[in-house]
């Protein structure tokens, strides 16, 4: 045990001498009076997710399962994506013919340079949060490692309607098992990378993918 550790803990204990020795952390009341679940009808929740994601300058479309492969093909074509990064577990039907597929997977990982040179990445997601227009990635099926959605300049993300939750607390509840059980990394994405550092003007696209496109499938 390091001396610094012992000393800091000793200082903390000395500084909290006013706290009764018998007090347990849970004895300190925490009133959770805020909203935990959203009982808005499902269609409205999904619609809100679509609206709010779009407000963050992401391109958002809603479509049916049958139209998905065509929509993916069109989106990639419109953005001139030739070298496409594909994470493990992505449904094969999603990958259009004619693009160069850069497959990432255990044992055969793309290097950061390969990712950097690619044109875009196609993924699914773990969740969508309607309240905030947020897409959540948890490094699971069809999402892959964090670097996959970070280095390519274009991110096309497929969200299924049933993956959309209403409120922020619902999202953290769903993610609990991933984090506690599997210690997977979680990334919240709310619109493409942005800065307001220059005279408070919002500029989309600093370091992450400069274009984020979301396909909501219902």
């Amino acid at each position: 045990m390091s001396a610094a550790r012992e000393e800091i803990l000793r200082r903390v204990r000395r500084s909290t001498r006013d706290v009764p020795g018998a007090e347990h952390p849970d004895d300190v009341p925490v009133e959770r009076g805020y909203r935990k679940t959203d009982d808005t009808p499902r269609p409205e929740i999904v619609e809100r997710f679509a609206e709010r994601t779009a407000e963050y300058k992401a391109k958002v479309s809603r479509l049916s399962e049958a139209d998905l492969p065509g929509a993916i093909r069109d989106a990639l074509e419109a953005c001139g994506v030739k070298g496409l990064v594909v994470p493990p577990g992505l449904p094969e039907a999603w990958v259009p013919d004619g693009v160069k597929v850069l497959r990432d997977g255990p044992g055969a990982q793309l290097t950061n340079d390969e990712l950097d040179r690619s044109d875009g990445v196609l993924t699914g997601c773990a969740l969508g949060i309607a309240q905030t227009g947020t897409i959540v990635l948890d490094a699971g099926e069809a999402q892959g490692r964090r670097a996959l959605t970070l280095l390519p300049d274009y991110h096309l993300c497929v969200v299924r309607e049933e993956q959309v939750v209403g409120l922020v607390p619902e999202a953290f509840a769903v993610l609990r098992d991933t984090v506690v059980g599997e210690r997977r990394a979680v990334t919240f994405i709310s619109g493409p990378s942005a800065t307001s550092d220059i005279e408070l003007n919002r500029v989309e696209g600093v370091h992450g993918p400069r274009t984020l496109e979301v396909l909501i499938v219902g």
């Binding site: 390091s2 610094a4 550790r5 800091i8 803990l9 200082r11 903390v12 204990r13 000395r14 500084s15 909290t16 006013d18 706290v19 007090e23 952390p25 300190v28 925490v30 009133e31 959770r32 009076g33 805020y34 909203r35 959203d38 009982d39 963050y56 950097d116 309607a130 309240q131 947020t134 490692r145 670097a147 970070l150 409120l167 607390p169 953290f172 509840a173 993610l175 984090v179 506690v180 210690r183 997977r184 990394a185 979680v186 990334t187 994405i189 709310s190 990378s193 942005a194 800065t195 307001s196 550092d197 220059i198 005279e199 408070l200 003007n201 500029v203 696209g205 600093v206 370091h207 992450g208």
Partner: protein
């Protein structure tokens, strides 16, 4: 060929956390007030953020409940900080990370420098972290032959300019686009750059992308770390935080010991409070949560180090009134509503923590008895706006008054009997009682509106207390708002137009 200098020639001026004496607030405020460009930029910026924040908060029907939960969670954590730190250490270690403890800035810097050196890193990439500003990590690393690259656009700007931050959230708020264009052309060797913000951002993207891909070591701060799971979180906008915490094979995170929160579930509170309070967004563009090292998954750094920093925090903890200052989640809402900050800017505070929170945190962290930091609790008109917006309900006016009392008492102890009769001390003790009591506090605010408050006449603050008095002689401060935020909040459910229909879910 242009040789790119990564380290500015100009050294950043000393602040409360560097060695040596710093000027007092009034001395520095005079300089800032004379800079009209700065005041224009600041005015525009704070007004914009203030307006947007009010909209983002009004959308939340349960904002007060979230604030209360945030406050309570912080209080629970701080009262049992030893338990939570030990638990955090266990969780991070279990997840393959290494935990280090640093009693002070020097120890933290030595640990971080040692990790960088053990990997032969000559360059490290950094995502904005006020804790590393506090410890002066960049200067330390430079002395060890390691170049630290700031990767936030604003941090890059001020690093290239050899300046210090003037705002927690928008550190380059004092620079306009043409100044930035000139700086980039000169320091990054870019020819042909317009002053359009997208072009300026792109210049930074290209310059930093190479750094992200080649750096062996990334350095970050932490917004929160969960004791239960060891999950650390960085909240950001630009993607440089994701880059720094994902790409380099080694990640070092420096966090103040007060940043720990008890459980994973508690993110549901803080991740609602922080984005709306700071950037006035429903959610910031990117948030990264990671738990330990990659442990063979190939996702993220193979090596993760968490450095827990005290550096005066346990002294703040010891003061039962001052303790709440450690609730702070660094959202900067209190800066944006502060009439004093709006006029003087951040530099006048001579601290990495400017504005109302800086005025209470800085003197507590560095200890009372130095003229510069001791002047900060006087840098306030006590209008209470900071308390009203604070997402974790820090009663900043109460702490300000309390610290003024402590400072005066400190002088007494040094100055004998004369100090004891100092009228400022007597007045401050009385004010301290007012601010510690909500009813009295609201009463005092009302008194200010009708001109009976000792410092206000016709709703305008003509005279600031104590040491700032000389400053307000020349310049009247804004009137105390007609309707306080608290009043507004109480009435907003009753058909007030500000309670618009864009509310979330439950409406």
């Amino acid at each position: 060929m242009t040789i790119i200098r990564h380290q500015p020639e100009k050294q950043a001026p000393p602040d409360a956390f560097s060695k040596g004496r710093t000027p007092t607030f009034e001395e520095s405020a005079k300089e800032s007030l004379a800079n009209s460009q700065l005041r224009r930029n600041l005015g525009k910026a704070t007004q914009t953020i203030r307006r947007k924040r009010a909209v983002a908060v009004a959308e939340m029907p349960d904002w007060e409940e979230l604030r209360e939960a945030g406050r309570a969670l912080k209080s629970r954590t701080l009262r049992h900080l030893d338990d939570y730190l030990v638990q955090l250490e266990e969780s991070v270690t279990r997840a393959g990370g290494q935990v280090h403890w640093a009693r002070d800035a020097e120890e933290a810097n030595r640990i971080i420098g040692g990790i960088a050196k053990s990997h032969d890193a000559k360059e490290v990439v950094k995502v904005k972290s006020i804790a590393t500003d506090e410890t002066k990590l960049n200067e330390y690393l430079e002395g060890e032959g390691i170049a630290a690259y700031e990767t936030d656009l604003a941090e890059l700007i001020i690093q290239l300019a050899g300046e210090t931050s003037s705002h927690i959230l928008v550190p380059a708020i004092h620079k306009n686009r043409s100044e930035i264009r000139e700086l980039f052309m000169r320091e990054l060797g870019v020819e042909d750059l317009s002053d359009e913000p997208p072009d300026l951002a792109n210049a930074a993207r290209l310059y930093l992308r190479k750094k992200f891909l080649s750096a062996k070591v990334g350095i970050s701060g932490a917004n929160f770390a969960v004791a239960e799971t060891g999950t650390v979180c960085v909240v950001e906008s630009e993607g440089n935080g994701r880059m720094c915490t994902t790409l380099p094979p080694v990640l070092v995170t420096l966090m103040g010991i007060e940043k720990v929160i008890p459980a994973w579930q508690d993110y549901e509170v803080f991740m609602q409070l922080l984005p709306r309070s700071s950037t006035a967004e429903r959610m910031n563009p990117y948030t990264s949560f990671w738990t330990g090292s990659s442990q063979g998954s190939g996702d993220g750094p193979e090596e993760f180090h968490l450095v827990l920093l005290d550096n005066g925090r346990t002294d703040v903890l010891a003061d039962e009134i001052g303790r709440q200052s450690l609730n702070c989640i660094r959202c900067s809402a209190c800066l944006n509503v502060c009439p004093v900050y709006e006029r003087t800017g951040g530099h006048a505070y001579n601290s990495v923590y400017p504005g109302p929170i800086g005025a209470i945190l800085t003197p507590q962290l560095v200890g009372i008895g130095q003229s510069g930091p001791d002047s900060l609790p006087y840098a306030s008109s006590l209008c209470g706006a900071c308390y009203e917006v604070c997402p974790v309900k820090i009663n900043i006016p109460q702490v300000l008054i309390h610290l003024r009392g402590k400072i005066v008492r400190h002088k007494q102890d040094e100055g004998g009997l004369m100090g004891k009769l100092d009228p400022e001390n007597v007045a401050m003790q009385a004010m301290g009682r007012i601010f510690s009591n909500r009813k009295l506090y609201e009463g005092a605010q009302k008194a200010a509106h009708i001109g009976q408050w000792p410092l206000a006449k016709n709703g305008t603050i003509h005279r600031l207390p104590g040491k700032l008095a000389g400053w307000t002689e020349a310049r009247d401060l804004k009137p105390v708002p007609e309707q306080t935020f608290r009043d507004w909040w109480k009435t907003r459910g009753k058909g007030s137009p500000s309670n618009g229909s864009s509310g979330d879910g439950a409406s």
